[in-house]
């Protein structure tokens, strides 16, 4: 049983590594995230539970982004931006799941600022 568990864990780790290596930061994905954050902001403003799923989706994206930048030279501060965005998206999800939409709105505000700060550095203007 233990062998099966270890095998499964290794498999998942390898799969995660491959997925991380395959992940690319595309303009389409970023536009998708911009759209998602607008949905998220709207769901939170309207106090809709769908906000949690949108926030979880963003958290998952930023987690991949963090791993991607961690493996990319010369983007050290991007790792920090992605990590912060990941944490904030998690906070939004938790606040929504706890029914605290005011806290969720504050975290969405911080999340959009985090996105903007990173874009100020990394997006060609």
């Amino acid at each position: 049983m233990r062998k099966v568990f270890v095998f499964a864990a290794l498999h998942l780790a390898l799969l995660g590594g491959v997925m991380s290596a395959q992940f690319e930061v595309s303009a389409d994905d970023m536009r998708e995230m911009e759209d998602t954050v607008r949905d998220l902001d709207s769901h939170v403003a309207l106090k809709e539970k769908e906000a949690a799923a949108a926030a979880r989706g963003m958290a998952a994206y930023f987690q991949k982004l963090e791993a991607h930048y961690a493996a990319t030279p010369a983007t050290a501060d991007a790792v920090g931006f992605a990590r912060k965005s990941h944490e904030l998206a998690d906070q939004v999800a938790k606040a929504v799941e706890g029914g605290d939409f005011e806290a969720a709105a504050d975290s969405v505000g911080q999340l959009t600022r985090s996105c903007k700060t990173c874009h100020d550095v990394y997006k060609n203007k």
């Binding site: 954050v37 607008r38 902001d41 709207s42 403003a45 505000g109 959009t112 600022r113 903007k116 203007k125």
Partner: protein
């Protein structure tokens, strides 16, 4: 405060043809904070919290002045004059817009610090320089886009394409009217160039808000709105009868098309126009203003007469409860087009500064003398600034990365907030995006930009989209 486009009992009743007020509520559920009819722009509505300001006079410097030649003194730019833009400053910027990147181009102005706040102002604005202790200079302003249309849209509507409501429309939506006899959101274009319209009605549009919330453009001269006067030979009783018949027919038509806010707006505009036959000409009639007041605004002097007239009208409008007056600076004559000085900035800004300096200073002084400055926000805004590098030898290109905006009155603390880098290319500290500017103005008007929403196509839309943060450091 929010509107939601979900089917409702009211919507059903409206569809059943129960009259104009029912039609107005079609598809809407209401926050109790709203008045009886959310589409009626003539009623007042409660703010989210106690406001500091009642009105905004938005001084739109269309075409984009070079704040490097007006407010943002840069000795390092003078030192580096004529040299190429150092890589360290331009890194990551897509710099070429209308033209290439010329060598750094130093201002030819002389500079001094003024007032107790010690704000820098160049010799192009000697009268505004005397008013600096009323002003909060936002020297780390930035935006997006590098064309007039896109950045004008962003400045006024927080969007990069047409279709979103202007800030004035959001304020009218949030607060309603303080004077049912005048439009709540008035636009005062000036000048002869195309920029006098500030890129057209899209920047004072109601966007997806009900059409009644759009800005009302006043014409120059004594008759601010075309065909407002009752025609000769028509009595007041006859006119009222005609309007009543029109209203009845419109109500019948509206019952068949309950979602048509354009019709709703048109119907309301007839009533508003009827009331404005007296109120609007009186509001813009300067005949009772003293000679001293007119002189304060530069009225009677060729270069400043038209713009000064516009700003004195703006003061009279806010005195009468108009919440948002959008004053657009066009060119005073055909010698220049607007502030858009891609070449010969000395001539261009010489003319444009002469046009606005006395009137703007006069407005600030007059508002203070009448006790109105405490409740009136005066905003100097442009779609972007201009570059520290030259263009065509003696002009400057568009600069969305760092420039100066300013706000006076309305509970704003005077002083200098933020900065650009050493040559004035990019905002470096105290960075203020247009979203933050709008969020701050809404806050001073008693509206929380995160709570002022309107549901459009299933999404709760806000004036500042998903961005915007109140600039707390400048609040008095």
């Amino acid at each position: 405060m929010s509107h939601h486009h979900h089917p409702s009992r009211r919507g059903f009743l409206a569809h059943a043809g129960l009259g104009l007020s029912g039609m107005a509520l079609s598809g809407l559920t209401l926050d109790p904070a709203f008045g009886a009819d959310p589409l009626d722009p003539t009623v007042p509505r409660a703010p989210h919290f106690a406001p500091k300001a009642k009105s905004i006079i938005w001084l739109h410097m269309a075409g984009a002045p070079s704040t490097l030649d007006l407010f943002d003194h840069k000795p390092e730019l003078i030192r580096l004059n004529g040299t190429p833009l150092p890589d360290s400053f331009g890194k990551g910027l897509k710099t070429a817009t209308d033209g290439g990147v010329g060598n750094l181009y130093a201002t030819k102005r002389t500079w001094a610090q003024h007032g107790e706040t010690g704000a820098w102002v160049s010799d192009w604005l000697p009268n505004i320089a005397k008013q600096v202790d009323k002003i909060a200079f936002l020297k780390g302003s930035k935006t997006e886009g590098s064309t007039h249309v896109i950045s004008s849209l962003k400045l006024h509507t927080s969007g990069l394409v047409p279709g979103r409501p202007a800030l004035g429309a959001w304020i009218q939506y949030g607060l309603g009217s303080a004077n049912p006899d005048l439009p709540t959101f008035v636009v005062l274009p000036t000048g002869v160039g195309a920029a006098g319209g500030g890129r057209g009605a899209v920047i004072w549009s109601s966007g997806f808000l009900p059409a009644a919330y759009q800005g009302t453009a006043f014409r120059k001269g004594d008759s601010p709105i075309l065909h407002l006067s009752r025609p000769d030979g028509v009595s007041e009783e006859e006119q009222r009868g005609t309007l009543n018949l029109l209203r009845t027919l419109n109500e019948q038509h509206a019952g068949r098309y309950p979602g048509d806010t354009e019709l709703q707006a048109r119907s309301r505009s007839y009533d508003l126009a009827y009331r404005m036959q007296k109120s609007a000409p009186e509001a813009v009639d300067l005949s009772k203003e003293t000679a001293a007041t007119k002189a304060l605004y530069g009225i009677g002097t060729k270069e400043t007469d038209e713009y000064g007239t516009s700003l004195l009208r703006a003061r009279r409008l806010v005195e009468r409860g108009v919440r948002f007056v959008h004053c657009i600076s066009g060119a005073p004559d055909n010698s220049v087009d607007s502030w858009d000085a891609h070449n010969n900035i000395e001539k261009n800004h010489g003319v444009m500064c002469k046009q606005v300096d006395q009137p703007v200073a006069g407005l600030l002084a007059d508002l203070q003398a009448r006790g109105l400055l405490d409740t009136t926000l005066v905003v100097w805004a442009s779609e972007f600034g201009r570059t520290p590098y030259g263009q065509t030898g003696d002009g400057r290109d568009h600069n969305p990365w760092g420039y100066t905006t300013w706000i006076a009155g309305g509970g704003i603390k005077p002083g200098t907030y933020g900065s650009t880098d050493e040559i004035g290319l990019r905002a470096q500290t105290g960075i203020v995006d247009t979203y933050d500017l709008q969020a701050t103005l809404l806050h001073q008007m008693g509206l929380d930009h995160k709570r002022l929403t309107f549901t459009h196509q299933g999404r709760a839309e806000k004036a500042t989209t998903v961005f915007g943060e109140v600039i707390k450091d400048i609040l008095a």
